[in-house]
């Protein structure tokens, strides 16, 4: 036993009495900390119930255009929007825009995140360099989302976008094609924002793999690259999905950077086209989180009308929680495998 531990045990020896006062105090303090857990759970359930009751009372209740019943209102909320008056736009284009953003973001974040996680677990020895990488990852995780937006605006939109315009679209100047906020730059910004999440999730999955997988592969004559990319990575795929799903959940909820790099109030033409690569990269797009932000601050909501705000908020919350639940299930699969892995 180390010195520190010996010191701890000897110093506390005096205090270790099972007196009644101590037992009561123990009950009290554990009770308090357990009650904090309960309180947190109550807060999240309470917020959820608040949104659900408000949304339901609006759907089923009497307010709204003449003759509107709950299915009409639901349909308007999701698909058409304008029938609700006030220039409110529908949720569906926002969901589609978010989907486009997420797909594009995945294309950027998955390779970089997976490669970094592989480097940290499979290739690198623990030196100052890997420590620097880990500190960078933690710091990237801690950088506020708005700063990613600021950086994205300065570097991607005006910097890279301006260069792309000068090189490839100079005939359209001064109308910028890529030198303006759009789907591509938003996807890159969100990819950077979500990089730490993906790295951490994949690292978790890679650490959970038994070492005999790698040993067996090397024993059979594989090179390091083959071991990593043909044996280890396929085994860790579920954790890659976990990371991407968590990144998606964060992308759906994070509005602040998108205010600066591409989300707009109303862009009903979906960013898909018939030509390759089927996504319009320079267009602006709608986003569910931005939709709620716009609905809250830029729409007249009298005290009796809160129901539809709650509905939009509920759509967002349900989207994110279902993504989180899927990630949890996949993660349980990844970690649960550990028990079956080594029969010895």
């Amino acid at each position: 036993m180390s010195e520190a531990n010996k010191k701890f045990l000897s110093s506390t020896h005096r205090q270790l009495t099972g007196s009644r006062l101590e037992r009561l105090r123990s009950l009290a303090m554990i009770g308090l900390s357990a009650s904090m857990v309960t309180t947190i759970i109550l807060i999240s359930s309470g917020l959820f119930l608040l949104l659900v009751t408000s949304a339901l009372s609006w759907l089923i209740g009497g307010s709204g255009p003449e003759g509107a019943n709950w299915s009409t209102k639901l349909y308007s909320l999701v698909f058409t929007g304008s029938d609700l008056g006030n220039g409110i736009s529908a949720v569906f284009p926002a969901i589609f825009g978010t989907l486009a953003l997420v797909i594009l973001m995945t294309v950027f974040v998955a390779p970089l995140g997976v490669a970094t996680a592989l480097y940290l677990t499979e290739y690198a020895r623990p030196t100052w360099y890997t420590k620097l990488i880990r500190i960078s990852i933690t710091n990237l995780a801690g950088v506020p989302a708005i700063i990613y937006g600021v950086f994205g605006l300065g570097f991607f939109v005006y910097g890279l976008g301006g260069q792309v315009d000068q090189l490839f679209f100079s005939d359209q100047l001064p109308n910028p094609t890529f030198g303006t906020p759009g789907l591509l730059w938003a996807a890159l910004t969100m990819a950077l924002l979500n990089l730490p999440i993906v790295i951490v999730a994949v690292t978790e999955g890679l650490d959970a793999l038994p070492s005999d997988l790698r040993e067996a592969s090397v024993a059979l004559g594989a090179t390091q690259g083959e071991t990593v990319f043909k044996a280890v990575l396929p085994a860790a795929m579920p954790s890659v999905f976990t990371g991407l799903i968590l990144a998606t959940a964060r992308t759906a909820g994070e509005v602040a950077p998108l205010l600066l790099v591409g989300a707009v109030k109303f862009a009903p033409s979906l960013p898909f086209s018939e030509r390759l690569p089927f996504i319009e990269l320079e267009q602006k797009f709608m986003h569910v989180g931005f939709q709620l932000f716009d609905a809250v601050l830029f729409n007249r909501v009298d005290p009796g009308d809160l129901g539809w705000i709650a509905s939009v908020a509920l759509v967002l919350v349900l989207l994110i929680s279902s993504l989180n639940l899927i990630a949890i299930a996949v993660r349980a699969l990844v970690l649960g495998r550990q028990e079956v892995a080594n029969p010895f």
Binding site: T38, Y119, I147, E226, I309
Partner: protein, 577 residues
């Protein structure tokens, strides 16, 4: 001999890609910082004066100067706000003259003997080169009594020995261009008076005037020379961003954030101190709300729960992350803010009575013979305590709300009004509450990791020697986990400092420095979100916004790195047990 075949080359390339990825992560972090510095850097640029060359077509300009009735060297009449103007003749006093009534009021603050006087800053101030070697800059201020003349206040004084030939004030800024013996042109920027731009002219000049805010024309005999004057909105004095500044029209130096003036003639104001203060204040208040909640839960989940239950309860607590901050802001804005007085009294009741009711409830559950909560079965206390917690919250909130009725005045707001305190609708407490709920999952996960990583056998040893579970936690685990918990709080602080949506919606965006919690605040992140989309690229406003973004980035960087160091030091201590 190493094998060189297709497989080996592919493996080598795979290794390169992976190494590149690792480097890219470091590169992106420092690249972000470097890029923002590059964008923000021009705000520090000093003002410049560049000669553009001579212009031979002077007769028109020469003529214009002669017809100009305002001779800055002998007698001057400047129009000030309203119906008043300021008139001065060398050797006599200055007078405020009302153009409607003809009233004349003497101004004794301005020097009587001067060689040049001119209006600066769009007629909001005057610069006078007195004959005793001092150039002074005064602001015009409205009087505080109805109908009275305005008054002037001395803002800056500069020593100036050379005799002044002529002076011309900048049409918009508090900048003075003057010609002094024998043939020097000097620009004095009163925003940054110690740095003066001087240019030696070839011949003795006879006159000067500002053609536009960036073009200065000097008349030298038959010729004229053009100069370009380029400056940022702060004139190269970066301290104007941080210290209180004496802005035009104000009686004393203050902090103001008003970067978009209502007309091109008004002065933009870039004090970022209130914004930084607001960010830090909001983060601090959020910690007050979020830390007890998350640390208490982390202690229970990290130490007292079995691994199975812990694996189940952690995702449930993480469900709070399903509420993005937009949703929390919306709930705060529409459901909490309208009834905040009630919420606040309830919260005060909860803060005081909740622990008491919980402890009572725990004892009650044990002594009623039910033995529902046992020290040897610690796993499911949260579930078993659910009715107790719900009742405790309800009772303590109700008690708080009822108690506020007994305050002098009848309600909390009335009582505060009686004390001279107004609770603003968008106040810091509201922000702190919602932000605290938002950062709870963050602090919880980091603190819980820290507590859980303390090896269990240390505590088991204590238990075996007869201590209660709480004692084993408090005396063994807590000292070891404390750095980790502190790191969790710091990470939570960083997260709260960077949060945008809640602050945008609930803080009221009032750029004030207020140490009480009853007023609103303005944060750096909300200002970035509101103003950056509109700031014209490469304008001073754009640069200052990037400076603020850098400061925010720096704060979170320092906090997060410190937290990492603290966490690592804990890992080193608990290794090898």
């Amino acid at each position: 001999m190493p094998v060189v075949n297709a497989r080996a080359i592919r493996s080598f390339l795979a290794g390169l890609i992976v190494r590149f990825a690792g480097f890219a992560v470091i590169f992106s972090l420092f690249g972000m910082f470097a890029q923002m510095v590059t964008v923000a850097y021009p705000i520090l640029a000093p003002s410049t004066l560049t000669p553009l060359g001579a212009d031979l077509k002077t007769s028109a300009y020469g003529g214009k100067l002669e017809e100009d009735p305002i001779d800055s060297t002998r007698n001057v009449s400047l129009s000030v706000a309203g119906d008043w103007s300021l008139e001065g003749v060398v050797g006599e006093s200055w007078f405020w003259v009302n153009s409607l009534t003809g009233f004349r009021v003497e101004n004794t603050d301005l020097p009587k003997v001067w060689s040049a006087a001119t209006a600066v800053g769009s007629n909001r101030g005057v610069a006078i080169a007195a004959s005793d070697g001092v150039i002074s800059h005064h602001h015009f201020l409205a009087s505080t009594r109805e109908g009275d003349a305005p008054w002037s206040k001395l803002v800056e004084k500069i020593e100036w020995e050379l005799p002044v030939i002529k002076a011309a004030g900048h049409p918009r800024l508090a900048v003075l261009a003057l010609l002094s013996e024998p043939s020097n042109l000097t620009i004095i920027d009163f925003r940054n008076p110690q740095v003066q731009l001087t240019y030696a002219l070839s011949d003795k000049p006879s006159g000067l005037f500002w053609e536009s805010p960036s073009l200065l024309r000097i008349i030298i005999g038959e010729r004229s020379e053009l100069f370009e004057f380029a400056t940022t909105d702060i004139g190269g004095a970066w301290s104007r961003l941080i210290k209180p500044v004496h802005y035009e029209g104000y009686t004393a130096p203050t902090f103001l954030w008003l970067p978009l003036p209502s007309s091109e003639a008004a002065e933009p104001k870039y004090s970022i101190a209130p914004l930084l203060f607001g960010t830090l204040k909001a983060a601090f208040l959020a910690l007050l709300v979020g830390a007890p909640l998350s640390l208490g839960a982390a202690i229970y989940v990290g130490f007292f729960m079995s691994p199975v239950q812990r694996g189940r309860i952690r995702p449930v607590i993480d469900m709070l992350t399903a509420f993005p901050t937009v949703v929390l802001g919306a709930i705060g804005l529409f459901w909490i803010a309208p009834v905040f007085e009630t919420v606040l009294t309830g919260l005060i009741g909860i803060a005081i009575l909740f622990p008491f009711f919980i402890i009572l409830g725990v004892f009650a559950m044990r002594s009623a013979g039910l033995r529902l909560v046992r020290l040897d079965a610690l796993d499911d206390w949260p579930l078993k305590l659910l009715p107790v917690v719900a009742t405790a919250i309800f009772l303590s909130a109700w008690a708080g709300i009822a108690a506020s009725g007994f305050l002098p005045g009848g309600s909390l707001v009335e009582y505060l009004e009686g004390q001279g305190i107004t609770l603003a609708y968008f106040n810091s407490l509201l922000v702190g509450l919602v932000l605290g709920v938002a950062i709870t999952p963050t602090i919880f996960s980091v603190a819980e990791e820290a507590i859980h990583s303390v090896p269990k056998n240390l505590a088991s040893g204590a238990l075996a020697l007869g201590s209660t579970p709480w004692q084993s936690y408090r005396d063994i685990v807590l000292p070891l986990a404390l750095p980790g918990m502190i790191a969790a709080i710091m990470i939570g602080f960083g997260r709260a400092a960077g949060e945008t949506m809640i602050l945008l919606m609930l803080s009221g965006n009032t750029s004030i420095i207020d140490v009480t919690v009853f007023e609103g605040l303005r944060s750096v992140s909300a200002s970035l979100a509101l103003e950056l989309p509109e700031a014209p690229r490469d304008s001073s406003h754009y640069y200052v916004l990037f400076v603020m973004g850098l400061l925010l980035f720096g704060i979170t960087f320092v906090v997060n790195t410190l937290a990492e160091i603290i966490k690592d030091s804990v890992k080193a201590k608990t290794q090898g047990v």
